[in-house]
């Protein structure tokens, strides 16, 4: 902590009338106390006394927000408050030169574009590492200023500029590693391309709820990119304008997450480094031709065939259900896929898609499989070619987790089928089990009593069937699902990964 007092100072202060010790603390200590307070409090200290007037401006982290309008005020008064805040920030940026992290978050209200440009310009002389700007209204226009190229230290930028954004052709973010673009309406295709090509060292890109009026294709061609997250509004598309194409050409991409309407066509190009992917594409509207949707998803999955770990929703798989239109035998083999998680985005207990057997035929190295419910297709008679057991069952599958297990005859039969055929099995986990005791009895009656563990708690129970005593006593070295959030095994499914209710 900066600033130390000598023993004579302490003596002096203590001997002094015990008033106002705080103002005598070394500046570094005072600043540290201020740094623990919200920005609003920090700015208020300016009126305490003349000594405090400018102290707050020496801090380096600021978070200015007006998250919602004050309801007891008129629109004009709210507008006034917003302008006042922008002026305050402007003055801070001109006076200080040590701001490192700055965040301005204002609810949806019209702001003066010139003020915003001027703020950004003032910010360029600081060694800013992190900048977040969340402001504006959709119909206003705003052109991103050129001065971003002067931001030599900017590593992380969150652009929540709700305007219709126009991006100049020579925009450059020389040090930007992480970019989040949310709620932006891009004016045209060129703007989008200019933004991406202006980020020479970008590693992480998030596109969240952007609006693409009149834009048919965007291309994310960033060779340094490691992580791409796309989250577009899932609401229904209603006309051809919403059919967009997103080309992803990122040879160093490790992680991809796509959550959007199934009418968006993804064209993965050369994703040879990909490690994990998360896919949720749905079409609630039923307005998009099923064939188009099926082809889009087929194309995306084909482009992800190098992936090691795949999170995919049942809803996405269901779009491939019409086998006359899309031949899943033509899917490439997923040679590296070891972990496959199928889950439901909305209704958690919807049955596992009948498309799964087709996918499993293409995953010869699969080790861990998570599914919402048992796959009834495998029970339709073992001589059915269509639903013959996948080879990964015999050659690699170690762990099976079934999220909803009710204990009916079919389900027990499925578990038996699995155990009979899986040579490498270590563990089957049946979660959200209701009649735990019943199921344990049934398992016992088919000879599986020995290594069955039932965990009951907090309204949800699960049963774990281990293969051998060593598995039962000490779970294997792979990270337990309880550490899912931290584990490297679980891909960047983030918000939508709501597996274990405890």
């Amino acid at each position: 902590m900066a600033g130390k007092i000598s023993s004579t100072d302490v003596h002096h202060i203590q001997g002094h009338n015990v008033d106002d010790m705080i103002s005598d603390l070394p500046e570094g200590v005072l600043l540290h106390i201020l740094s623990l307070l919200p920005t609003k409090d920090v700015v208020r200290t300016s009126v305490l006394a003349t000594k405090w007037r400018h102290l707050w401006t020496y801090l380096s982290v600021f978070d200015f927000k007006i998250p919602y309008p004050l309801y007891n005020k008129s629109k004009d008064q709210n507008q006034n408050s917003v302008n006042c805040l922008l002026d305050l920030v402007g003055r801070l940026l001109r006076k200080s030169n040590c701001v490192e992290r700055l965040s301005i978050d204002i609810f949806e209200i019209a702001v003066d574009g010139d003020k915003v440009s001027s703020l950004i310009s003032s910010a360029s002389k600081h060694k800013l590492q992190y900048l977040k700007l969340s402001l504006g209204v959709p119909n206003d226009k705003f052109a991103l200023p050129h001065c971003f190229s002067a931001f030599e230290s900017l590593n992380e930028l969150c652009l929540g500029l709700k305007f219709t954004l126009c991006i100049p052709s020579d925009i450059c973010f020389p040090s930007l590693k992480k970019l989040v673009v949310s709620d932006v309406t891009f004016a045209n295709e060129e703007s989008v391309q200019q933004l991406f090509s202006g980020c020479p060292v970008l590693q992480e890109l998030t596109l969240y709820n952007c609006y693409w009026e009149n834009i048919e294709q965007i291309s994310v061609a960033i060779s340094t990119l490691r992580k791409l997250t796309i989250y577009f509004d899932l609401c229904c598309v209603d006309d051809e304008d919403d059919y967009m194409t997103v080309m992803i050409d990122a040879v160093n991409l490790l992680s991809l997450s796509c959550t959007c309407h199934a009418a968006i066509r993804f064209i993965p190009v050369n994703l040879t480094s990909i490690v994990d992917a998360h896919v949720h594409l749905e079409d609630d509207s039923q307005l998009v031709p099923v064939l188009y949707v099926a082809h889009c998803i087929f194309e995306l999955l084909s482009g992800l065939n190098n992936v090691k770990s795949l999170d995919i929703t049942n809803d996405t798989l269901e779009c491939l259900i019409d086998r006359t239109e899309v031949d899943l035998n033509l899917l490439p083999t997923f040679h590296n896929l070891t972990h496959l998680y199928v889950y439901n985005f909305t209704d958690e207990s919807t049955a596992t898609s009948g498309v799964l057997p087709d996918i499993l035929r293409k995953t010869p190295k699969l080790e861990v499989l998570y599914i919402p419910t048992v796959v009834r297709e495998y029970l339709d008679g073992e001589d059915s070619l269509l639903n013959s057991l996948p080879c990964c069952l015999k050659s690699s599958l170690k762990r099976l987790h079934i999220l909803y297990f009710f204990g009916d005859e079919d389900e027990i039969e499925f578990v038996m089928l699995f155990l009979k055929n899986a040579s490498f099995f270590r563990e089957i986990q049946l979660a959200n089990v209701e009649k735990v005791a019943d199921i344990q009895d049934q398992l016992q009656s088919v000879g599986l009593g020995t290594y069955v563990e039932a965990c009951c708690g907090l309204g949800h129970s699960r049963i774990i069937i281990f293969n051998s005593p060593s598995d039962y006593e000490s779970p294997d070295d792979e990270s337990d699902e309880d550490e899912g959030a931290n584990s490297g095994v679980f891909p960047g499914a983030g918000v939508f990964f709501c597996w274990f209710c405890r």
Binding site: M21, L36, D41, W52, D480
Partner: protein
């Protein structure tokens, strides 16, 4: 409550890597409670990821929780006992004696007591004399209007 901290060394983050590859980001304070980790840091100052080869992720998680909890609980109990004058004098002492953990705890305690309070309250609590003229103060309050909206009534 508090936003991201400034570069005070006691808030620096460190990554611990368990034997099964699970990563934990912890504050330096917490990591230093583990003398083994402390020794590692003493040897290589700039290190950011420290391997913990003998401990599984799930156990390391529990250990870290324990340290955090005992620290938080102790700090909460500790700071309750002192009035503002004592807190300030203790902070002076901790600063002179260079005890970063205690300084951090006291700074947090002081910050907590003045959070979302009006300037009048803060002046009273710290015995700060307001040497602004009424005009000066009015001007500041107007300029920084944003900061004065929605403050606790004392």
């Amino acid at each position: 409550m508090a936003e991201e901290k400034s570069q005070a060394s006691s808030s620096k983050m460190l990554t611990l890597k368990a034997s099964d590859g699970v990563l934990f980001e912890v504050e330096l304070n917490i990591a230093k409670e583990m003398k083994t980790v402390q020794a590692y840091i003493d040897d290589c100052e700039d290190i950011e990821t420290i391997p913990i080869p003998n401990v599984l992720g799930k156990h390391l998680a529990i250990v870290i929780e324990y340290i955090k909890k005992t620290n938080e609980e102790y700090d909460a109990e500790f700071e309750k006992q002192w009035n503002m004058d004592d807190l300030q004098l203790l902070l002076l002492a901790a600063n002179y004696l260079n005890i970063s953990g205690l300084q951090e705890c006291l700074c947090k305690a002081i910050a907590k007591r003045i959070e979302n309070k009006s300037p009048e309250y803060v002046r009273k609590v710290f015995n700060i004399e307001n040497d602004h003229s009424p005009e000066e103060e009015a001007k500041l309050r107007k300029e920084y209007k944003w900061a004065f909206e929605g403050v606790d009534k004392d």
